[in-house]
């Protein structure tokens, strides 16, 4: 039968001889043993010390009484335990992440299912109730008989999340380890969805999630977050971890983050970063964010215009890089100066021996880094660009602005 956590709170408990032991005040789950089993019941007895009944000491459970299969003597005295998840204190009314619905929700009640094993009954946590039925149950608990509540709630729209899809939020890192809370489920979400979730949480909760994500995911999430939040998170991170995350970010995004930090913090983080990355980011930090230099990214692919299509493809294949976002390749002439761009699609459709110079887009547009962002927008609009090359005064490409940089500047 299905039971609700609310219905079991305050239920009387009797031992094997039918003597009254106490009332249920709390349940615990011991995630290290079983992720969804109610492992301990806290029984309070007025002024006496509260007792704990283990899951294998329960003979039957209903919303009226709990029957133990042992005598009162066999029960232990309650000692607080950090590695137990308290249903009432840690779950009810708290926020959790619904990893399937990709949002933050508040727990109204918990659905429990009975499972018989040899000689005793185990309760398994099946679903978390976040909708109206749970709210009604909480409100009417102890005031209206549960039969009537059940009748009433069957009329209401259900809204619950299976326990497997629930991700708990625990700001204390030690407790998180003890409770076996991982954020693996979160790493499967799209960084933008995860960023939306993080925006709903409090600072310490955000911090705990970022700290436990792998650097690559953390970098992707920071790139999607609101600038002020990113600054706060990076400021509060351990500098070593922060530098590792920044290293995973695109140099322009990392520069944006560092620009918002205080001089000392940003210098400290740059020291922690490997020389090559730090150098690129330092360079970018010199530019005003409202110019082409401030918008550009220093990571772009460039090849000699005399190379053939197959040579370039072969070279790309050999790189240990993620080219998901690549759609334009920069061409250099024999003097290492900018000579134009080739869209990847043109390469795809070209013959294997075709030279890249022949595939070049006309006209070859570029901008100096000092150019105002308005000029950037105008060029993108006029030529329907997807990427614009930024060149120095010797006409050498130093960076590229992609269409998503333009979009995020326009959105701001």
């Amino acid at each position: 039968m299905e039971l609700y956590a609310t219905e079991l709170m305050g239920v009387k408990t009797y031992d094997d001889k039918g003597n009254y032991v106490g009332r249920v005040r709390e349940f615990f789950i011991e995630p290290a043993e079983a992720p969804n089993r109610i492992s301990h019941f806290l029984l309070s007895r007025g002024s006496f010390q509260p007792l704990v009944a283990k899951h294998n000491q329960i003979a039957s459970v209903s919303d009226k009484k709990i029957q133990l299969n042992v005598g009162e003597k066999a029960l232990e005295v309650y000692q607080p335990n950090e590695s137990w998840l308290a249903v009432q204190k840690d779950l009810l009314d708290q926020q959790i992440i619904d990893t399937r619905g990709r949002k933050v929700v508040r727990v109204n009640d918990l659905d429990l299912a009975e499972q018989r094993s040899n000689g005793n009954v185990e309760l398994r946590l099946t679903q978390v109730d976040v909708g109206l039925p749970g709210a009604v149950r909480r409100l009417l608990q102890g005031v209206v008989p549960f039969k009537m509540v059940r009748k009433l709630q069957s009329q209401l729209p259900q809204s619950s999340i299976r326990w497997e899809f629930v991700n708990l939020i625990e700001p204390d890192p030690l407790r998180r380890v003890k409770l076996r809370i991982t954020h693996e489920k979160l790493e499967d979400l799209h960084p933008a969805d995860l960023a939306d979730i993080m925006e709903e949480l409090s600072a310490s909760e955000r911090q705990s999630i970022i700290a436990s994500l792998d650097e690559e995911t953390a970098a992707a999430v920071l790139g999607e977050l609101d600038a002020r939040l990113t600054t706060q998170i990076v400021e509060d991170l351990d500098p070593e971890k922060a530098a590792d995350i920044l290293e995973e970010m695109a140099p322009d995004a990392a520069a944006d983050v560092l620009a918002d930090l205080s001089k000392e913090t940003s210098e400290e983080l740059l020291e922690e970063m490997p020389g090559q990355e730090a150098k690129e980011v330092r360079g970018l930090l010199e530019f005003d964010p409202a110019t082409a230099g401030g918008m550009m990214n220093t990571e772009f692919v460039y090849v000699s215009e005399s190379a053939t299509r197959d040579e370039v493809l072969e070279w790309l294949r050999r790189q240990d890089q993620n080219f998901d976002q690549l759609d334009t390749i920069v061409l250099l002439d024999e003097k290492a100066q900018y000579s134009g761009v080739v869209p990847v699609v043109r390469m795809l459709l070209a013959g294997p021996e075709e030279h890249l110079a022949a595939l070049r887009m006309e006209p070859p547009v570029s901008l100096p880094p000092q150019a105002d962002e308005k000029e950037v927008f105008e060029l993108f609009d006029k030529y329907n660009l997807r990427m614009l090359t930024v060149v120095d005064k010797d006409n050498r490409p130093i960076g590229a602005i992609t269409v998503d940089d333009v979009v995020s500047h326009l959105v701001k």
Binding site: D93, A135, Q232, A307, I398
Partner: protein, 451 residues
């Protein structure tokens, strides 16, 4: 093919030569932008406070008791600052709204009843705002059956379809109308020294022989207590606390930016009281002096602006009142719907579509429709509506303050940022004082009814 590293080297040496001054100006600009992004909620919350009910109460107290109510402004400023500061600190250090924290720490049922009370009390406040609209437009001879529904629609559309930033800016600009009270007070030529003298506790002043003849001692009777309670009730309202803490969380104020927010709250509390001071001095110098002791409608209250605006006085007053009422009416229902939905776990926020946040939009719309509708039905009893909305505020405020005090003193939430002993004393004394005043108001208003 070129080596990526060598190109980056070239580029780095080149870029170092770039104008360093540019990066210097940028940090300054960012600082300024940050300052303006954070400054605001405290100022808004205290400005919205000078709404229809507020202006009515200030004018009434000045007309009825002259300068003798002024002494209450300093303790009120302290109480306002202390309670708002606790909220903003709670928001900045926990990153959670007040209603969220109450839900997490006190459970569903407590939250439900508190939210029901918030809904009821704020409905009263919304009615008071629409009463303000009715009074203001009455001055121009516009029927309330036109003005009230029109302003209700305006408010609804502004919030659902407008940009919140612009709406706030427009209203804050029109708030400058309050300064007409300052000018009018100056033109009415009150004795400033005596007015300032009355800011001191009245019984203390009597012990200084040289100024004793100038000091008026307030009559400590029931009517005076009602006015005092009314002043407290309009300046320190429960909804402000929810609104301010939500705004602090929304603006992502963290421990680092907190000092800005505390200054904002301080500036807001003081500026609110300065305006109140001038309104009372102004009405004391005009209405009280000429023997008009009861403010029955906007026309009487507007007489206080005669020294400044002459025959335009009532028009000026009406515009100020209309702005204040519509500003408050556009903030109150929204923040109420927001707070309730957050606490009970419903989807909220105007960035959702109606289908995604049905309860949020229904609450918001219902507050406006009911608020405006009830004013249309009972518009004749405007004074009763204003009084009762304040009494209800008075009921709820101590409850909210007690929750606030418990939360802000929790070390597991706030770390070492819990209240200091002195701060706790001030906060508890103001809470108890408000409870006493509320009891007095309730007693006297029932007394009045049975007479």
């Amino acid at each position: 093919m070129w080596n990526r590293a060598s190109l980056a080297d070239q580029w780095a040496t080149w870029s170092v030569r770039l104008d360093r001054a540019r990066s210097a100006t940028r940090t300054v600009r960012r600082r300024v932008a940050l300052f303006f992004a954070i400054v605001g909620p405290g100022l808004i919350v205290s400005n919205v406070d000078n709404d229809a009910g507020g202006i009515y109460t200030y004018a009434q107290s000045g007309a009825q008791f002259g300068n003798t109510v002024l002494w209450s402004l300093i303790p009120m400023t302290i109480a306002l600052y202390v309670s708002l500061e606790m909220c903003s600190r709670l928001g900045a250090y926990t990153g959670k709204g007040l209603s969220d924290l109450i839900r997490e720490e006190f459970g569903f049922r407590v939250t439900f009843f508190l939210m029901a009370a918030v809904l009821l009390v704020n409905l009263g406040n919304v009615m008071a705002e629409f009463t303000g609209v009715f009074w203001a437009t009455d001055v121009f001879g516009i029927s309330k059956f036109i003005s009230v529904p029109l302003s209700a629609i305006l408010v609804w559309v502004l919030v659902v379809h407008g940009s919140a930033k612009w709406v706030e800016r427009i209203f804050l600009t029109i708030c400058m109308v309050y300064f007409s009270y300052v000018v009018s007070a100056v033109l009415a030529k009150p004795d400033w020294l005596i007015a300032l003298l009355h800011l001191l506790p009245p019984h203390l002043v009597r012990f200084i022989p040289s100024i004793r003849p100038f000091a008026q001692v307030p009559p400590f009777n029931a009517e005076y207590a009602v006015i005092l309670a009314g002043l407290v009730g309009t300046t320190i309202a429960p909804w402000q606390h929810f609104y301010l803490q939500a705004a602090v969380v929304e603006k992502r104020v963290g421990p680092r930016q907190y000092s800005h927010t505390r200054n904002d709250v301080l500036v807001g509390s003081i500026s609110c009281m300065v305006i109140v001071f001038f309104i009372i001095v102004c009405t004391a110098a005009t209405l009280y002096v000429s023997g008009i002791h009861y403010v029955d409608n906007a026309g009487t209250a507007a007489l206080a602006l005669k020294p400044l605006a002459g025959r335009w006085a009532s028009g000026l007053f009406a515009i100020g009142l209309l702005n204040a009422s519509i500003f408050a009416a556009s903030i109150l229902p929204l923040s109420t719907a927001y707070v309730i939905c957050e606490a009970l776990g419903f989807e909220s926020g105007i960035d959702h579509k109606f289908g995604e946040a049905k309860i949020f939009y229904s609450l918001y719309t219902a507050l406006i429709v009911l608020g405006a509708g009830l004013v249309l039905l009972f518009g004749g009893h405007a004074k009763v509506i204003l009084l009762w909305s304040q009494v209800l505020n008075g009921f709820l405020l101590p409850v909210v303050l007690i929750f606030l005090l418990i939360l802000v003193n929790r070390r597991d939430l706030m770390g070492d940022k819990i209240n200091s002993k002195g701060f706790n004393w001030v906060a508890w004394i103001s809470t108890v004082a408000m409870i006493v005043l509320t009891v007095v108001v309730i007693y006297s208003s029932f007394h009045e009814m049975h007479q």
